[in-house]
Symmetry: C2
Subunit: 235 residues, 2 copies
DNA sequence: GCGACGCTTCGGCCGCGGCCGAAGCGTTCC
DNA sequence: GGAACGCTTCGGCCGCGGCCGAAGCGTCGC
């Protein structure tokens, strides 16, 4: 009972960070930012379901915890996740949340849209994300082993050739191809710079489009054809 | 402000899990369990710095959140982390906590011991853990790429030959070689089944020993020789 | 069977913090 | 300059939940 100062090295701040996430309104704010975009306080207030003053307080706290960063631009202030580690931690927590007690959560249509295809910080998740990872792996374009992925030579040629993804730009900095446990599918999808590039390219090609006020993405008609041709996916 | 039901799909439970972690006493309990062992409520009360009744309540809450599992054995009840995902989420949160505001945290001797060498759930972390990962990588025994590791053939021979690590037993189930961001070194160390096997073998060989009431491990005289010979590490 | 022991449940206290409306501050637009 | 706008700060209310001591319950040892 007199330990207190013992494991506190990480303890206190671990608790601080977790407590910052551990409130419904703030968790909703963070979830809204998980698509990697920067939103204004007003938009976040809407997502969180609380008033502007309350949101302001929450944002201050999230900032102090190092979870979100603020960017001032004229009379607007944009808020975004502080970095990829934050998105990673949130994703890990969601995986724990989803793996927890198998209590029946009502599965609404919105939920279904999210499970089908959504963005996860800067890459694709849901059945689409997992499907892409599976397809790339099945064709030997990516080797998913030991919990992470590596792009093969054939994979590099395929992505730059057939899809026009510039991998030279993605070579440095963040890991090229991390995997990320999908909380809805409970299987890995592709994250890292490859995942981000792939996602961005799908938007560019008009294969997917954002769904208003949601992290879900809609697969367009062009996307249905594209995913079928390039990856053999039926969407 | 009327969104509420919107991104709540993951929101509510994300908040629940985070809130369960976000209390000093509970964070201390979880940190104490991070070495993968199962502890009794009494021991955890000591670690948390609160009374037995309070600890009991905390454990109930952690269990309900799916973070901790209970094992009854006679008049004792052992508590352990519910699974590797939980350890992973905690590690990710610690990384965020460590990366946050670079405020000066007092760095005591205990802290120094933890930074030198400690267990992280079931594998090694700190300078020792990162050093082992670096050495294995430098010699081509492990390829750390894209945020995860793969064991090479030479690496397999080295580990089974020179160290006597039975990798056949580690072939199935959890990923063989994940990497895990070290919160003190801010660089990856080896986790997954390889990390666990390596850690266990170091204990078996008497190279490291547990430090009482801490996740830190001490490198023995034999360990100093062993790590130098096998990995070229000075400890 | 009886006490010792480990832990949980109960009851009550108290403070932290989430919530809002009103007011204040800074930016932009005209 | 003045009004509109977006956001933050302030003040006050209220309830959740962390804390403990005391009592209860199950297990073990003699």
């Amino acid at each position: 009972m007199l330990a207190v100062m013992n494991t506190m090295v990480s303890g206190t701040t671990l608790a601080e960070v977790a407590a910052a996430i551990g409130d419904t309104a703030r968790a909703n704010i963070l979830a809204a930012l998980m698509d990697g975009r920067a939103l204004t306080a007003g938009e976040l207030a809407w997502h969180a379901g609380v008033s502007a003053p309350t949101t302001s307080g929450h944002l201050a706290r999230l900032r102090q915890a190092g979870l979100v960063a603020e960017e001032r631009q004229g009379r607007h202030r944009y808020h975004r996740l502080a970095g990829p580690e934050v998105a990673h931690a949130l994703e890990a927590l969601m995986a724990v949340a989803a793996s927890g007690p198998p209590r029946h959560r009502p599965t609404g249509p919105r939920d279904e849209a999210l499970r089908a295809a959504r963005t996860c910080y800067d890459h694709l998740a849901g059945r689409l994300g997992v499907g892409l990872a599976d397809a790339l792996q099945a064709r030997g374009h990516v080797v998913i082993a030991d919990g992470a992925g590596s792009l093969t030579e054939a994979g590099g040629r395929f992505l730059s050739g057939a899809l026009g993804i510039d991998l030279a730009a993605a070579r440095s900095g963040r890991p090229l191809c991390r995997t990320c446990l999908d909380w809805s599918e409970r299987r890995p999808h592709l994250a890292g710079r490859l995942g981000a590039a792939l996602c961005a390219r799908c938007f560019e090609l008009g294969w997917i489009e954002p769904v208003r006020d949601s992290r879900a993405v809609a697969v367009t008609e062009a996307g249905r054809r594209g995913f079928a041709e390039a990856f053999g996916l039926a969407f």
